[in-house]
Amino acid sequence: MSSVPAQRKPSIVHTFGQLVIEFVQAVGDLAIFASSMLRWLCRGLPRSTVVVESMYEVGVRSIPVVMITGMFIGMVLAVQGYQQFHLMRMETRMGAVINMALVAELGPVLAATMLAGRVGSAMAAELGTMRVTEQIDALRALGANPIQYLVVPRFLSCFLLIPLLTAMADAIGVAGGWMFSTQVLGVDSTYYWHYSTEYVAAWDVFAGILKSMFFGAAIALIACHRGFNCGSGAEGVGQAATSSFVLSFIVILIVDFFLGMFLNEIYWTLWPGPSSFV
């Protein structure tokens, strides 16, 4: 009779393989969750009061934090950029750099980060608590589909309202950068706007807003998925909230990178030609 071999300690290859399997499982699970959400979205919306309440929470209550973030990031860009531009006697070009950075990258990414922190974590914690206390099962027992009742309104709120929040962050950031550059650093306002309008095109604003919609969708799906799959007890809820923010932030940056490349390709295909900053 052959003896049973002693269990060996897993090697690096085993551990790596396990991680790959878990990653593929997690992505597949999120994809199934997203397709289920889309199916229920196509079947119809839950009661309007549920959607309006979610939109108030996601949109209206995020305005202060997004405005403050946008304003300070505009001013910080002016502070950091001034010395470099002053050395080259090109302070008047600051508007182009500040506004381009804001509308194309920082506005959308920071608005999304704020949303992931303020709204996404709260969603994951709320849904996680509902799961732990069997409220999600209770919804099903009472004839409501939890995806339709809980996920669809949150998804719509994030997807539809993040462009408005991004536009607000852009606008207040542009105003903050202009105010600090012209009123504190003494840059000429006319040239500041002249170079801004010359280098920042409507496409850049559009691209930033478009990207934000993808960020909003990712935040809602990740937060709801984390909440629905949260572990037991207070620890599980805490982990769901934390992992929701961390994962959302990573996904925002990855999506930003690929969408940036994709939108640049589209831009150069539609409007080919040389471009120069100076």
Binding site: R47, D137, A141
Partner: protein, 279 residues
């Protein structure tokens, strides 16, 4: 071809006795942990069945599987002799509304008032006017011994016993034919336990419902059960041994010679104390 509505018949006296819920060889794992192994049992129309057993032996999981709120890892669930997997999503949702489920912690929706909690199922599945809803909610609150004024309260303002009663009122609002109670008396004082037991009896006496009750409370078993099914934790069983160690009337459970049964129903630790001492 759409399957016929299996719950179309009211559970009248002539209909009682037929199998309304049947579990065939149900197993359920959570990761590598096996909680249920090939459990088979049935619940007959009009009876009140108590599921008893130690914590963690799979009673609540069994009940969630009965109501199709959880999928088994293996095995088949039948409602009125029709496998639930043969139903479409819409049919499953429609038939599940014949079940009322009182959750362990009542599972009231924190963000909704007592009124909205009780009216939730009706709002979701019917087009009743607000005035009619108010009437029904007041009636259901009266059924569970609460004043209509408590409808304005939020769940956080309620005591444990009140939460359970509101949960019961919410369950009863949809007039279910089968009511599943998950530990309805856990954590309550003896008076409130008797109140809940009496409410279960009143509900059954008011109209013919089938009830399944997961409980550790032997006073509940004595007072309301027609039949008792006892589960045993898998970790304490030999491979191949059935997880359902007893099935019979409450009287038979209390007079059983089987130490697995008698120790539980009389609350005697027995050899467990020695086991604990060895840890």
């Amino acid at each position: 071809m759409p399957s016929p509505d299996p719950f179309s018949d009211p559970f009248t006296g002539e209909e009682s006795g037929r199998s309304i819920i049947e579990l065939r060889g149900i197993s359920r794992n959570f990761g590598s942990q096996e909680v249920l192994r090939k459990v088979s049992l049935d619940v007959r129309a009009g009876e009140t069945v108590c599921l008893i057993g130690e914590s963690g032996c799979g009673k609540s999981v069994t009940m969630k599987i009965m109501a199709s709120l959880m999928q088994p890892s293996a095995g088949e669930v039948l409602w009125n002799n029709v496998p639930i997997n043969d139903r479409s999503d819409e049919e499953l949702v429609r038939d599940r509304l014949r079940f009322g489920y009182l959750f362990q912690g009542a599972a009231l929706f924190d963000s909704l008032s007592v009124f909205e909690n009780i009216a939730f199922g009706l709002r979701q599945n019917t087009k009743m006017s607000d005035s009619f809803l108010e009437e029904i909610v007041a009636e259901r609150l009266k059924d569970v011994g609460m004043s209509p004024a408590s409808a304005r309260k939020m769940p956080s303002e309620l005591s444990g016993g009140m939460r359970k009663r509101v949960g019961l009122a919410r369950t009863l609002a949809l007039m279910p034919d089968i009511i599943l109670y998950d530990e309805p008396t856990t954590g309550l004082d003896p008076i409130m336990i008797d109140v809940i037991n009496t409410l279960i009896l009143k509900t059954r006496n008011r109209r013919p419902v089938t009830s399944v009750i997961v409980t550790h409370e032997m006073s509940t078993v004595r007072k309301v059960a027609d039949r008792v099914i006892m589960f045993y934790p898998l970790s304490r069983l030999e491979p191949g041994q059935s997880q359902v160690v007893f099935e019979g009337t409450p009287e038979e459970a209390f007079s059983s010679d089987d130490p697995q049964v008698s120790q539980f129903v009389y609350g005697e630790a027995g050899e467990r104390m020695q086991e604990l001492a060895l840890l």
